[in-house]
């Protein structure tokens, strides 16, 4: 059984929920059905090409053997749990009449709360480390009493510079991602749904059927406010 599994690197950022869903739907349309993930790769079971809708739901527990609470009952509403990929639990349905996994953007925003809180804390920590490192490097280059440290930094200056630059790029990337996630949560809370196919099917001409996911952007591609009296 396991030798039938096809392993693929994930080309989508783990915080790009919509992009992740689009990629998994595209793989299913090619006959590769998501089964779970390992450390580096997503696992797919080959089968008949199928039009499915996928939903990536942030979960508080990254462990692959911990099944999220919704998995138990989602079958009653036409969805099934497929597996985890990072912090995301993947659900899917091939039933065109099944409702969308989330039908209330405000409720959906609650699922992002824990994730955004954790990511924001980590980002502040990362920024603090980055600022300390920058301050230390500047100070050591300005203050001659830093002799031994300066020699150490000077000795490996090309490497130090490269590592510092790499760290800076990674930090900026993470800050951008987390900012996008927070923005997405704010939009959901304001009643704007993540764009996706309408419940009832995936028209071949819809944007959803086209592999238009971005590799780095966690922001929704378009969002119209929910025309509701309530939200």
């Amino acid at each position: 059984m396991s030798k039938d599994i096809v392993r693929k690197p994930v080309p989508v950022d783990f915080l790009d929920l919509d992009g992740m869903e689009l990629w998994l739907e595209e793989m299913a349309a090619k006959g590769l059905h998501f089964q779970g993930s390992g450390v580096l790769f997503a696992h797919f079971l080959p089968g008949a090409p199928a039009q499915v809708r996928c939903h990536a739901e942030p979960t508080p527990d990254k462990r692959r053997d911990v099944i999220p609470g919704q998995a138990v009952d989602c079958g009653d509403l036409g969805w099934s749990y497929a597996g985890k990929i990072g912090w995301l639990a993947v659900f899917r349905t091939s039933d065109p009449s099944a409702p969308d996994f989330h039908t209330d953007p405000v409720a959906q925003s609650y699922t992002l709360e824990r994730m955004t809180r954790t990511m924001t804390r980590s980002t502040w920590l990362l920024l603090a480390v980055m600022a300390s490192l920058t301050a230390f490097l500047v100070w050591s280059s300005l203050d001659s009493s830093f002799g031994p440290v300066l020699r150490l930094v000077g000795y490996s200056s090309p490497y130090t510079g490269f590592v510092f630059l790499l760290d800076l790029v990674l930090t900026l990337h993470i800050v951008r991602e987390v900012w996008g996630l927070c923005r997405l949560r704010r939009r959901l809370r304001a009643g704007m749904p993540i764009s996706g196919p309408p419940a009832g099917g995936i028209p071949a001409s819809s944007g959803r059927a086209t592999p238009s996911y971005s590799v780095s952007s966690p922001w929704p591609k378009s969002a119209e406010p929910v025309p509701t009296f309530w939200a």
């Binding site: 509403l77 996994f101 609650y110």
Partner: protein, 105 residues
């Protein structure tokens, strides 16, 4: 989930509270109630349903009263009932405003 309290209820949240007004129910029964009550106008996906149940329980609007296998049954708390009634009063006031505007025009 967040420590921030719920703001205005969405339509789906309002109907979920309504589902527990008269009897204890599990999630699936609540979804069936909402679909039946609204004649299919308000549809709830599983993610929305279980997120709302979790949030309501966390906010003290619902209380879990029984767990039988995978079935979890909830009951509306006094706080949940008060919030529901508050929302009904708000909606009645809105409808009254709309009615009075129609009469004038």
């Amino acid at each position: 989930m967040s420590k921030k309290a719920l703001g205005t209820l969405t339509e789906t949240m309002f109907y979920v509270l309504m589902a527990f007004l008269k009897e204890e129910r599990c999630g699936t029964e609540a979804a069936e109630f909402v679909a039946c009550k609204t004649k299919g106008r308000v549809r709830m996906g599983p993610g929305t349903l279980y997120t709302i149940l979790g949030k309501f329980e966390e906010e003290g609007l619902l209380k879990e009263v029984a767990v039988e296998g995978r079935k979890r049954t909830y009951r509306l708390t006094d706080r949940g009932r008060a919030l529901y009634q508050e929302e009904v009063a708000r909606l009645r006031a809105c409808v009254a405003d709309a009615d009075s505007e129609e009469v004038q025009s």
